[in-house]
């Protein structure tokens, strides 16, 4: 609750500071201060300290898992603003509003971390999405940005309709907005059984599934992703592809945990189809991209395929895993995007020879890329490790794991092309001015990736506190 209230207030504060402040460059520091405040407020709640007690009548229920995820999301945003704050200011004419919208998105994330009712899920998703439509179109004079924004809005609105339809059907069938369907009963042996799921309810759950697949850009509902990510100003793509997407996954898992049993054994078959399609489309298409930005868009689809494993296995390991995955993936992607924004040329050739001109950036980007490809000693390895281990633990789906690792090998191909461009190819990579502070930030991100990669227990022990 703390985080929801504080983030909404901070959004308003940011808007007014845009009117009251003449000096635009101090906005970044206000935002950083606000994020720290938000993080502290969320941590307070994690340890049972509330600023305001609101009785939400069980519409919201905060558990450690959700609050911990929220802390990760806020910390990732903090790192994102520290690294790319300057570029957010230059993305368009209204920097204060952009920061305000980012805080509103975080408000949506906070709701998604604690929703306990399908209505709150819908509200959370919408609060999260609407600011994004605006951010996508913030480069007002750029046609591609306009196109992306319109496309995203139309598709998003359509999906909102599908989601509402699903919720309505479920409500019609069960008379409840609860995220755990009353049709599911626990058997004496501890398993679950569904004696009387109606077709209405099954249809409702399927529609919800489709809507959530859209939000996390899982195939075959991924078509908006490359265009939107490519068209949006790069700084906002970074935010969308990491924090927002991870929050979508969190909501997906929380929702389907209580609903998937309705679909019976079909559920795993359906999900494995989606996982394989996502991995296939994301990885194979990324191989052919010449623009690093577009490659990262497809790579985010591919990474979503891996995150879907958390849904497939739905056990303790997968819960830890999705936290680790969200942290590892967000860190690495934010790092790469922060560098990408500084590049004058977004194509692969634009990275040629970066190791000579900016060795620190090249090294830190390499660490981020290694993490995305899942090489040991980086956070990305343990993220993938947990996902695979959770599936192996279920005892079924070993074939799915093997398919997934083969695609992980494919992903190495396109991630390493960037490394090859930076280190092994001749050229002069042109960048905008790189400050010492930015380099320090990148080194910090890379250091964090390696730290989590060597000792993931640092992050996860905290989870069990």
């Amino acid at each position: 609750m703390n985080a929801i209230i504080v983030s909404a207030l901070l959004g308003v504060v940011m808007m007014f500071s845009g009117i009251l402040l003449k000096n635009k460059s101090s906005l970044k520091y206000i935002a950083i201060g606000g994020l720290l405040l938000l993080l502290i407020a969320n941590l307070f709640q994690t340890y049972g300290v509330y600023t305001v007690v609101v009785n939400s009548h069980e519409l919201l229920r905060f558990q450690k898992f959700g609050l911990f995820f929220n802390s990760i999301a806020i910390s990732a945003t903090l790192i994102y603003v520290i690294l790319s704050g300057r570029d957010i200011e230059h993305a368009g004419n209204y920097p204060a509003e952009y920061f305000a919208l980012i805080f509103f998105v975080l408000c949506g994330v906070s709701i998604l971390c604690g929703f306990n009712s399908l209505l709150m899920l819908f509200l959370g998703i919408e609060i999260l999405s609407i600011p994004l439509y605006i951010l996508t179109g913030s480069d007002k004079r750029n046609l591609k940005s306009n196109e992306a924004s319109l496309k995203y809005f139309l598709m998003g609105a359509f999906t909102a309709g599908i989601m509402l339809m699903g919720i309505a059907l479920i409500y019609g069938a069960t008379g409840s907005f609860g995220i755990v369907s009353p049709s599911i009963i626990t058997t004496p042996t501890g398993g679950t059984a569904v004696p009387k799921a109606s077709y209405l309810e099954i249809a409702g759950v399927l529609l919800l599934f489709v809507a959530m697949c859209f939000k996390v850009s899982a195939a075959p509902f991924h078509f908006w992703t490359p265009d939107v990510y490519d068209g949006a100003p790069s700084v906002f793509t970074s935010f969308m592809a990491t924090i927002v997407k991870a929050a979508g996954f969190f909501a997906f898992i929380r929702l389907l945990e209580g609903q998937s049993a309705i679909l019976g054994p079909t559920w795993k078959i359906l999900l494995s189809f989606v996982i394989i399609a996502t991995l296939l489309i994301g990885n194979i298409t990324a191989v052919f991209q010449q623009s690093v930005k577009r490659m990262l868009a497809y790579s985010s689809i591919a990474q979503a395929g891996f995150m879907l494993f958390a849904l497939y296995s739905a056990n303790d390991i997968s819960k830890e895993g999705i936290l680790l995955y969200a942290a590892a993936y967000s860190l690495a992607t934010i790092g790469i995007f922060a560098v990408l924004i500084k590049m004058k040329d977004y194509t692969l050739d634009g990275f040629n020879g970066l190791a000579k001109t900016e060795p620190v950036l090249a090294l830190t980007t390499t660490i981020c890329l290694l993490s995305l490809s899942g090489i040991p000693l980086t956070a990305g390895f343990f993220a993938k490790y947990y996902m695979l281990a959770s599936v192996v633990k279920t005892g079924t789906g070993l074939w799915l794991v093997i398919v997934a690792v083969l695609f992980a090998a494919v992903s190495v191909y396109y991630y390493f092309r960037v490394i090859q461009a930076m280190y092994f190819r001749e050229g002069v990579a042109e960048t905008t001015e790189i400050t010492a502070g930015f380099k320090a930030g990148m080194v910090f991100v890379a250091g964090l990736i390696i730290l989590i990669g060597v000792l993931p227990s640092l992050l996860l022990n905290y989870f069990y506190f």
Partner: protein, 475 residues
């Protein structure tokens, strides 16, 4: 403590060298660091019994930072520790751009290799397995030959696919261990059905077979050896291929004995096919590096076959040969490097009569080359004899076919000696001069090892006896 230091010294000095900008200092520091590692590994060899180190690492996952240095690990860490100073000393005059990065990456490779040979925790083993690969990828891609980027990438993707399959295997075995632990003993006693053993065998063996490499997974190897800078090729073929053989003995054989047994005939046949195939190709090569690369495939094939015949004598042969092959092949690469650095070519057709210009080099090279053919009194003879003996006990016919490779080895090796060193001098070799002192010293040391181990191999057999008998005690 020694096992931990063996990893830490190259790791930390490797990272430190990165920070140096000055090139002579980085060279010297790399040499000093590798000599320190050599001293430590010699201390380990002369310590009785297995050395261990154990510390908490990932309690939630059941993985510990535990190292074990038994006979086989001692032998392989000694090989690693000898190789690096030898490589550094022999290529001391080579000039590399960004030399601090070069030597830093080399030492990181050494840390990874030593970690692989010492780890007794499966997850830790996997970590080091990858850690050894990443620096090599950069070494070959930055300092390699003309086609380096594509070739090294092929090498990387090949081995990475293998590693990932191994990771799936690791996870599966882990899920079947009684105490949910990655410890070596838990893996040995994992509860695996016959069906599961076959699956796990396949997942692991592909990773190891790519690394060795075994026919038909070998296609990355000749290109990678040819395009890599020679200092790296020495490490690749002298030490890194032993990772695959080591891993089969350390992990695969005790972990899935039934799966191992079920596939032994298949693997032996593949290995022997690879031996003959690689030897035949080696005969047709016109490039020193490619010839040694194919010859290396043939030798590794024999070692792999000798493991899969599953008898004690074969395994003893493998133990000795792992060490000796490393020494011999590094010696050959050093000569190849000298010729390339001095004359700018590696083609036999451009060379001839070098013995007249560089008699010392010729003598040293001939001894190394004869050791490569496994002539009696050279080190490789003992190992090959034991391995063929083991193969013969397994199946006489296969042993007979494999024996043809000895003849073929003599054909291509003697052909190489003849074309490079004897005959009339040609245009290129006219300006050739005797090699510098450091190379002569290094080669002399290697030749000494070749002869001593050829005449008196008993200490090496004794050293690795505990590993061999532990494996056969369990069955």
């Amino acid at each position: 403590m020694i096992p931990l230091l063996l990893i830490l010294i190259p790791l930390l000095s490797g990272l430190a060298i990165f920070l140096l900008k000055d090139s002579p200092a980085s060279k010297a520091l790399a040499l000093v660091s590798s000599l320190a590692t050599l001293v430590l590994s010699l201390m380990a060899v002369f310590t009785k019994g297995a050395l261990t180190y154990d510390a908490a690492w990932l309690p939630g996952l059941g993985s510990r930072f535990s190292l074990l240095q038994d006979g086989m690990s001692k032998m392989l860490s000694l090989l690693t520790a000898i190789s690096f100073p030898v490589v550094f000393a022999a290529t001391y005059k080579n000039v590399y751009q960004r030399s601090s990065a070069f030597y830093g990456l080399m030492l990181l490779t050494q840390a990874g290799l030593l970690g692989v040979f010492l780890a007794s925790d499966a997850l830790l083993f996997y970590f080091f397995w990858e850690l050894a690969l990443i620096p090599v990828y950069f070494l070959c891609s930055i300092w390699g030959g003309e086609k380096r980027i594509a070739v090294t990438f092929k090498f990387f993707v090949y081995t990475f696919i293998g590693s990932l399959l191994m990771l799936v295997g690791l996870l599966y075995v882990y899920s079947q261990t009684a105490d949910h632990s990655f410890a070596m003993q838990s893996f040995y006693h994992a509860n695996l059905s016959a069906h599961a053993q076959n699956a796990v065998f396949a997942l692991f063996f592909i990773a190891f077979a790519i690394k060795m490499p075994i026919f038909p997974f070998h296609t990355w190897q000749p290109d990678a050896y040819e395009q890599s800078p020679t200092a790296v090729t020495m490490i690749l073929s002298g030490v890194m291929v032993k990772m695959g053989i080591f891993a089969v003995i350390r992990w695969l054989l005790p972990m899935v004995p039934q799966g191992f047994h079920a596939h032994s005939m298949l693997v032996v046949l593949l290995s022997v096919t690879g031996m003959i195939y690689a030897s035949l190709i080696a005969i047709r090569q016109d490039d020193i590096k490619r010839l040694i690369a194919y010859s290396s495939i043939a030798h590794i094939g024999l070692m792999c076959a000798a493991i899969f015949v599953q008898n004690q004598i074969g395994l003893e042969g493998v133990m000795i040969q792992m060490f000796n092959h490393g020494i011999n092949v590094i010696g050959l690469w050093i000569v190849a490097d000298v010729i390339e650095q001095q004359l700018g070519t590696r083609k036999f057709s451009d060379l001839g009569g070098l013995a007249q210009k560089a008699p010392v080099l010729a003598i040293l090279f001939v001894i190394m080359a004869l050791a490569n053919v496994a002539l009696p009194l050279t080190n490789a003879f003992v190992g090959e004899f034991l391995m063929f003996n083991g193969l013969f006990q397994f199946n006489g016919w296969i042993a007979a076919v494999a024996g043809i490779s000895i003849i073929l080895a003599a054909v291509y090796t003697l052909n190489m000696i003849q074309k490079i060193f004897y005959g009339n001098t040609v245009e290129k070799t006219l300006q050739a001069v005797e090699v510098s002192g450091n190379v002569q010293w290094v080669l002399s040391i290697l030749v000494l090892i070749v002869l001593v181990m050829g005449v008196y191999p008993q200490p090496m057999i004794e050293l690795t006896k505990d590993t061999v008998s532990a494996i056969f005690a369990n069955r």
